[in-house]
Amino acid sequence: MRTQLNRLEAVFGSATQIRNFGRSEKFVVEAEFVKLLEIAVWLRMEEHFRMDLLEAFTIFESKGKLVLSYFIRSHPHNLQLVLRSSVTVPGAYERVNAPSMIGIWPHAEAFETELAPLFGIEFTGSRGTGGVRKVFGEFDGFPLRKSYEWQESFEP
């Protein structure tokens, strides 16, 4: 796997950083936010990777940044990888723009439609099928951000 990742480093140079994911043997490719989409397309199309399945897409907020992690797999090469990028969290009521991955991994739609309203992210570039919509109601801010004021009780 490390040899294959060397190819990625050779193509994208300092736009990527590679390290281990937690204590596991998986690798994380940390990509510059502006290069995220380009690197995702490359990983999907490149002969030695063919990362054809998005298993999960997660977001968490840490140290003032929203960290986007794509857990991707390659069936042809039996590979697993985490593609990651982060973006600075703006004001509590401001949305962030991020590239949509639906065009690369259609399964991203399930995650993007859910995470967009909860984290205040606008996924741009690809449109999904709109087959399954999420109706969460109105929030004062974006509930999964750390700045969101947690209410212990709600009035009906």
Partner: protein, 377 residues
């Protein structure tokens, strides 16, 4: 007298079904465009029962964070407990005793059997075979009795702990497992006669809701639904956890025995076969529980998890269940995000409903074994 089919001149009508209807497998809405009773386009709307589990996990300490985990899917909650425990144990580098791992496996398989029996009962009701559901629920009660004997609860167990399980094997549990597995094995043959050999039941499901490998790949469908379409992917085999590597079992896939590969009938057959395999694993596992501790350490309420992250995956009764846990080293999780099988499986529904008749919707949805609780976490 010769009867000719009447040609109905219909226009396209818009219909909305749900969100609360006993024929649907949960609280969600289907907006349809139909021509007569033929669906041309369907869209789903979920989120009505969103519980905010991921946010509430951030508000709990590590000690109590197992509580909302159970609510991800109350019908098969041990899979969620297991994957959460595996993830946190990876961050903390906790070695789980072998005895605890086997106990976890036994309970996870009981959970799978219970969930699959629940699926068969629900499907038989919507297919018009309510009598069969009573027989199936009778057996599911036996499985819940076993889970209660071990955990003290029938649902939402809260039994797995970081580093093991809450209690050792209860007296008489192993004997009851042998007794129950033998009985269910016999009863599976009865279900076979009542369902699989019943032409009316087969006609209701064969050729219905065919999931193609392309849709499976595109929508990320996993578990018995994907296996019924010939995708032999089971996390217990691909990346064995909790001592699964020690037990031999088959991964059944759909064969298109009565219709075509990946239809509703194959989804029933695969689950029936999986129950059989789980019974086999259970029988071997209870006889192979290693001696030793059932818990590596006692966790205290002020327990902290070192800064780090983990992504763990297990094969739940509905498919690939994964969790991404992030810790900043404090008393609370920074983030707990779930990848549930139903979140992906429900994405395939609009595709499946295109071109089917309205009366087939409940059967197709039931054959997918969707858990709206998993979708609306």
């Amino acid at each position: 007298m010769i009867y000719t089919q009447e040609k109905l001149h219909t226009s396209v009508s818009k219909l909305s079904w749900g969100p609360s209807d006993p024929a649907l497998p949960g609280i969600f809405r289907i907006d349809m465009e139909a021509e007569g009773d033929l669906i041309r386009r369907a869209r789903l709307e979920t989120g009505y029962l969103h519980k905010g589990l991921e946010k509430s996990a951030e508000k709990r300490n590590w000690f109590t964070s197992i509580v909302p985990v159970d609510r991800v899917d109350s019908e098969a909650s041990l899979a969620a407990e297991l994957v959460f425990a595996i993830a946190v144990e990876e961050i903390c580098n906790i070695q789980v005793p072998r005895r605890a791992q086997t106990i976890r496996l036994i309970l996870a398989e009981l959970d799978r059997i219970g969930s699959h029996l629940g699926f068969l009962a629900r499907l038989s009701i919507v297919s018009g075979f309510e009598t069969v559901s009573h027989y199936i629920l009778r057996e599911r009660e036996l499985v819940l009795d076993l889970l209660e004997l071990m955990t003290g609860r029938r649902f939402n167990f809260g039994f797995f702990r970081l580093g093991g399980v809450a209690a050792d094997i209860t007296e008489g549990f192993i004997e009851r497992i042998h007794e129950t597995t033998r009985l269910i094995e016999i009863r599976l043959r009865e279900y076979h006669a009542l369902m699989i050999e019943n032409r009316a039941f087969v006609d209701r499901l064969a050729w219905q809701g065919v999931l193609s490998p392309e849709v499976i790949q595109m929508k990320g469908v996993t578990g018995p639904n994907a296996r019924a379409s010939g995708v032999r992917f089971d996390m217990r085999k691909v990346e064995p956890y909790s001592s699964y590597e020690q037990f031999d079992f088959r991964v059944p896939i759909g064969t298109g025995a009565r219709g075509t590969i990946g239809d509703g009938f194959d989804r029933v057959m695969v689950r029936l076969e999986e129950i059989r395999e789980s019974l086999l694993v259970l029988t071997h596992a209870v006889d192979a529980v290693p001696p030793g501790d059932f818990l590596a350490f006692r966790m205290m309420p002020d327990f902290t998890v070192p800064a780090g992250e983990a992504y763990a995956r297990v094969e739940s009764s509905r498919g690939l269940l994964a969790v991404h846990v992030v810790s900043d080293g404090g008393f609370h999780p920074t983030r707990v995000q779930w990848r549930t099988p139903s979140l992906a499986n429900i994405e395939a529904v609009p595709e499946l409903l295109r071109g089917v008749t309205i009366q087939d919707i409940p059967v197709i949805l039931a054959s997918l074994d969707l858990s709206i609780s998993e979708v609306d976490r």
